[in-house]
């Protein structure tokens, strides 16, 4: 039982990271039907940025904050300079464009920083916590806690703020939204900025746990993509649940089956979800509502 709890906690912690990345996919997909395969690079930029800024002697919270803000700016520029001019292009073309941008980000990071593996000091104390026979790294609690805060904040952004409502309206019916004076370009920019923010946040949170380097984005991007697909692409809550499920699957697979094949098992689960429920695990409910 202790072993199970231990696996569950590390699974939920990694799952929270996947959830943040997956939520980013969902936001952008919702607003524009673009599948942004550069999403994982935001995680890399957040992590590497925070490492660099902390290395310059900045206090950790400041470094983390600036790194996340910087990543958001990258997301905004990406939308403004590359996606907007080709917004009418087929979805497949835009997906290929984001693959290219992801490679560009990775290439720049390699030149800007290096090929080494970096780490970041954890938030707060690094002392392990013992609860009910389970050892907890405090950082995992920060990851889970801040993920919940971020998800609640995103949720209230959509419910309360004008921009959030505009994104929802544009997602529901772009043409009607435009007739009501919502600028689709602005919606696009907001969604990319917000997604990059979430990715950057995931990056600064995950770095003390799993380290970072210029090439971590690809893998994390794929995980977030999987999370978004499990939850049904475009479904924010689904992406969060999908991310947590993916994290738990990996952690349980590593603990009970085989740690070298945990990724393979996770991929099999994703394939199974796609084939049995292409609309994601929350898809059915969606259909009934329509």
């Amino acid at each position: 039982m202790d072993g199970f709890l231990q696996l569950a906690i590390s699974g939920v912690a990694m799952g929270s990271i996947y959830a943040l990345v997956g939520l980013g996919y969902a936001l952008i997909y919702n607003a524009s039907h673009v599948v942004n395969l550069a999403q994982g690079e935001f995680v890399m930029l957040g992590g590497m940025g925070a490492v660099s800024l902390a290395g310059l002697g900045m206090p950790l919270p400041v470094a983390m904050f600036l790194a996340v803000v910087g990543t958001s700016v990258v997301g905004l520029l990406m939308a403004r300079l590359t996606i907007e001019p080709r917004r009418q292009a087929p979805v497949l073309t835009l997906m290929l464009l984001t693959i290219g941008l992801g490679i560009v980000f990775r290439g720049i990071a390699m030149l800007l920083w290096d090929k080494e593996v970096h780490t970041l000091a954890p938030i707060g104390s690094g002392e392990l916590i013992q609860v009910m026979g389970v050892t907890i790294v405090p950082q995992t609690l920060w990851v889970i806690g801040l993920m919940i805060v971020a998800v609640v904040a995103v949720d209230s952004f959509f419910r309360r703020s004008r921009h959030g409502k505009a994104i929802l309206a544009a997602a529901a019916h772009p043409m009607a939204a435009q007739l009501f004076g919502i600028k689709i370009d602005v919606v696009l920019r907001w969604s990319f900025t917000l997604s990059a923010f979430l990715g950057g946040l995931a990056g600064v949170l995950v770095t003390p746990l799993t380290f970072t380097s210029y090439d971590v984005g690809l893998n994390l991007g794929v995980k977030g993509f999987s999370a978004a697909i499990i939850g049904g692409m475009g479904n924010g809550l689904g992406a969060v649940v999908g991310g947590l499920l993916l994290g738990l699957t990996e952690s349980m697979a590593a603990g009970y089956l085989s740690s070298s094949y945990k990724d393979l098992i996770a991929l099999l689960v994703i394939l199974a979800v796609m084939l049995l429920a292409p609309q994601g695990i929350f898809g059915a409910r969606h259909k009934e509502r329509v």
Partner: protein
């Protein structure tokens, strides 16, 4: 109708063969033969993806996996079981076809990003299996491969390999052109245009998609087998996602829906890192930029754009 020089079946192939025959006059060292040979292998690999992506409009982010299956089949069957090289190559291609058939049957009904994810998962799974199973596949360190030998004759040196790879590429191009200009090719283009319209017109879209998926996997496998014997050393890295991305870049740069485009794309993209030594650090960045600029400014790809310009000038 396409006319004159670039008429696909005859003119283009003759031009390609002539270019291949003339190139050794310019090439002076094995170093450059190595570049040309790598271009040739990569072009053969991308012909298959070009059929799948450019003609049928189906994305694959896992084709590097098929390349690796071909390479590992050749490596293992020739060294462990002492099979002759051509038999091992055919066995690898058959294995790839079988895997593509089984996987394709279930995943090809997915579309857009779901198909992208499914093929990506397929490629990643192949990579993980090659990487983790040390006893059978040698693990992350890779394995060495026997040289290419048929009936006592061994391919040696840049020029011999160059001739062999050129023959393989010409054969592959000829097959691809014939496929594209057959009823199958027209069915594929219809599927790319609109799956619904194609189906309504009586095209069995599931069958054609599966067929072209299998064909493209076989192309990748054969290229992988040749690559394995050429470099005489392979690692699971061949199956990595980045190589599937690289294939996409080559096809897009050359031109979607252009068979020769895949060759042009491979020639440009693969010769850069080999010819320019300073390039190494910038390789990732430049490859990414090529993809971004192609999508933004050259959406039809290099060769179709140039062909259109020539035609305008001529007409």
């Amino acid at each position: 109708m396409k006319s004159g020089f670039l008429q696909p079946q005859t003119g283009g192939l003759v031009a390609l063969a002539a270019l291949m025959a003339l190139l050794p006059l310019l090439i002076t060292s094995d170093l450059y033969f190595n570049v040309a040979n790598n271009v040739g292998i990569r072009a053969l690999l991308c012909l298959g993806l070009s059929l799948l992506l450019g003609f049928a409009g189906q994305i694959s982010l896992g084709h590097a996996g098929f390349f690796a299956i071909g390479a590992y089949s050749s490596a293992l069957l020739t060294s462990r079981l002492d099979w002759p090289v051509p038999v091992a190559l055919l066995a690898g291609a058959s294995l790839c076809a079988l895997i593509a058939l089984i996987i394709g049957r279930s995943i090809l009904r997915l579309r857009g990003h779901l198909l992208a994810m499914a093929t990506l998962a397929m490629g990643s799974m192949i990579y993980i299996i090659l990487n983790q199973n040390v006893a059978l596949f040698g693990g992350p360190d890779g394995i060495s491969v026997k040289p290419f030998e048929v009936g006592g004759f061994r391919l040696q040196g840049g020029l011999q390999w160059y001739i062999a790879i050129c023959c393989a590429l010409l054969a592959g191009t000829w097959l691809a052109l014939n496929l594209v200009n057959s009823p199958i090719g027209r069915a594929l283009v219809a599927i790319k245009g609109s799956e619904v319209a194609a189906e309504v017109s009586g095209v069995d879209i599931a069958r054609y998609k599966l067929l072209i998926f299998v064909v493209s996997a076989v192309y990748a496998s054969v290229a992988g087998s040749i690559f394995a014997h050429y470099t005489e050393f392979i690692t699971p890295g061949e199956a990595e996602l980045l190589y599937s991305f690289e294939m996409l870049i080559i096809v897009l740069l050359g031109g979607m829906g252009s068979i020769y485009g895949a060759i042009v794309g491979a020639a440009i993209l693969m010769s850069l890192p080999h010819l320019l030594t300073w390039f190494h650090d910038y390789e990732t960045l430049v490859f990414g930029m090529v993809l971004v600029f192609t999508v933004l400014f050259l959406p039809r790809g290099l060769l179709p754009t140039l062909q259109q310009r020539w035609r305008k000038r001529g007409g």
